[in-house]
């Protein structure tokens, strides 16, 4: 009985030692991969930060209005955010690649899926960034045009332009990611439709007098007279 117990214990210990001997080099390899990956990701981050500083990415983002949005959301500067994103993606990618070379077939499949997802993630981020750029540009253009044309409530017009473009770009980004495609499409349709209907009702009914004044100013003799006076033959 005693021998049997001792035998079983010895066998269990041997199996544990064998498993440990099998696992330890892998753990060590993953650890080394993680450390090397961290160094590579860090170097990538430093190089990217220098490159972005060189091309004045933050200034471009300021112009695009993206920096202002990030600041409002208490997030770091766009270049810092991008550097961090690249750092984490690079590090995670290297670790997963390491794990993939050591792991089972099912793990490898998940990791492959992750890598296949990355281009779509980048495409979505690019869409959102370009959307911010377009939203900021066209909102400012609308604001300037409305102010110089002496239209009432220029900020409402500018904000409406911004909201429509941002919502459109976010819905496109979600579509690219394959997340809740129908929901996003329906939500966008509802928001856009409601906005247009709301504006139409507000302008046609709620602001009937304003609409009349606007149209009178737009097409009447008075407008022509005022416009000429405003010109003052500046040249």
């Amino acid at each position: 009985m005693g021998d049997m117990i001792a035998n079983e214990l010895s066998q269990a210990w041997n199996e544990f030692a064998r498993a440990l001997a099998h696992l330890l080099p892998r753990l060590l390899a993953i650890l080394i991969i993680a450390v090397v990956g961290w160094v590579i990701a860090y170097l990538l981050k430093v190089a990217l930060r220098s490159l972005l500083r060189l091309v004045r990415f933050d200034r471009l983002s300021e112009k695009a209005g993206a920096a202002q949005l990030l600041h409002t959301a208490a997030l770091p500067s766009p270049s810092e955010l991008l550097c961090r994103l690249v750092f984490w993606l690079a590090w995670l990618g290297i670790i997963l690649a390491g794990v993939s070379s050591l792991g089972s077939a099912s793990v490898q499949q998940h990791i492959a899926d992750f890598f296949l997802f990355l281009p779509r993630l980048f495409a979505s981020l690019l869409i959102v960034f370009l959307g911010m750029l377009a939203a900021s540009f066209f909102a400012r253009a609308a604001l300037l045009a409305a102010v110089n044309a002496d239209l009432p409530s220029p900020h409402v017009l500018s904000d409406a332009v911004k909201v429509v473009i941002v919502v459109l770009s976010i819905s496109m980004a979600f579509e690219e990611l394959g997340l809740a495609q129908r929901t996003v499409l329906i939500a966008f349709t509802i928001v856009f439709g409601a906005l247009m209907l709301g504006l139409a009702i507000a302008f046609g009914l709620g602001g009937r007098d304003l609409a009349r004044q606007f149209l009178e100013r737009r097409f009447s003799e008075d407008r022509i007279r005022r416009k000429n006076e405003d010109h003052l033959s500046p040249l």
Binding site: K63, R140, L144, N228, P234
Partner: protein, 425 residues
Amino acid sequence: MADEDILSDELLRQLISVGEVDILVGLHTYNHAKTIGHIVEVIRDGLLKYFPRERVAILNADGGSTDGSPDLVRAASINDVRNSYNFHSLRTLHCISSQYASVPSAGQAMHMVVAAADLLRAKACAVIAPESTEILPEWIDRLLSPIYREHYDFVAPVYRRHRSEGTLVTNLLYPMTRALYGKRIREPRPGEFAFSNDLAGQLVANELWTNDAGRLGPEVCITMESLSDGLRIFQTFLGTKGQVDQQPPDLVAALRQTVGPLFWSMGQTDAAWSVIHEVHPVPTAGPEFEITTDEVSVDRERLRQMFSSGVVDLEPVLKSILSSATLAQLQSAAALEAEKFSYSDELWVKSVYEFAASYHRSVINRDHILQALVPLFRGRAYAYLKENSTASPEGLEERIESLCLTFERFKPYLLGLWTAQERGS
């Protein structure tokens, strides 16, 4: 656009058949049938009267008129003039018309005239605005003789103006150009002007034709080019600037055609203007200014209202263009009642210089920067018109001179902004 691209094969054929000329007169038209016939007649009179022995040609660059403007130019026959006025030319007067595009563009039209002047080796080339209904035959002599006979390179006009007219010229273009380049050029955006063959050679391959500034305001770019190159410049008094039958452009368009090209030219020529610290007079034939003071109705209050609402509404845009101190002063001015309203010379000059520096740096889209200047100009125009509503011509000239001196006094401020940008700070 290359020289050979702007001159079509058909136009080249016509120009080659004309051969070298001594004098070329350029006209750019777009549906100017109401005025162009009279203008061409006067140009012919001037050419026959003052340059009877020279080889001359009139070139019409048309932007796709549908009212028969080019036909009116082509129909200019030398025999009609001989019969009507008893003038005799010893040479043929060539009248050529060519369509440069289906869409009108001042830059393309001017590029065509400059390229043709260069190709024909015209010793002197004058450009006449198609709405100059006040034109006299003497204008041709006054514009061309300084170049043809006295070897000047560029002749700018001086116009008779009403005190409420040309506020953009008197409050920005003239004083700023003078402070930058040290020359008292009264009309940096001339309707009529003339240039030499040397200047045409410099201009023909210039970068200005390939960007918005040159396309929208080639006259300003050409003036700045001649100023920065230290060429021999002359001014000549012409009379009343014609703008009959043509609506003046709205303020946004006016700034795009004038201030945009000025700011752009500053970037191209900063090596030249940054070392100029003195202002010199320009040789001038006739009075250097002539101001009329007839009563006209001007809705000034609307200008102030649009300035005040513009400064408030455009705060986020102005923040990215102006310094916080300048913006704060503007906001204070915008909050003032009409009786107490003031937009001082110093504040105006600092605003304009900061806009120029921001344009150079492209802090936001450059066209948006120009659009954001419009409400500020309205405020300045209001203050200027209010202060000078009863001023005599001499008093008004003193007032303009004072503004010019402020622009000159603040030039180091502009240089500071400019060099700070060059350093990338």
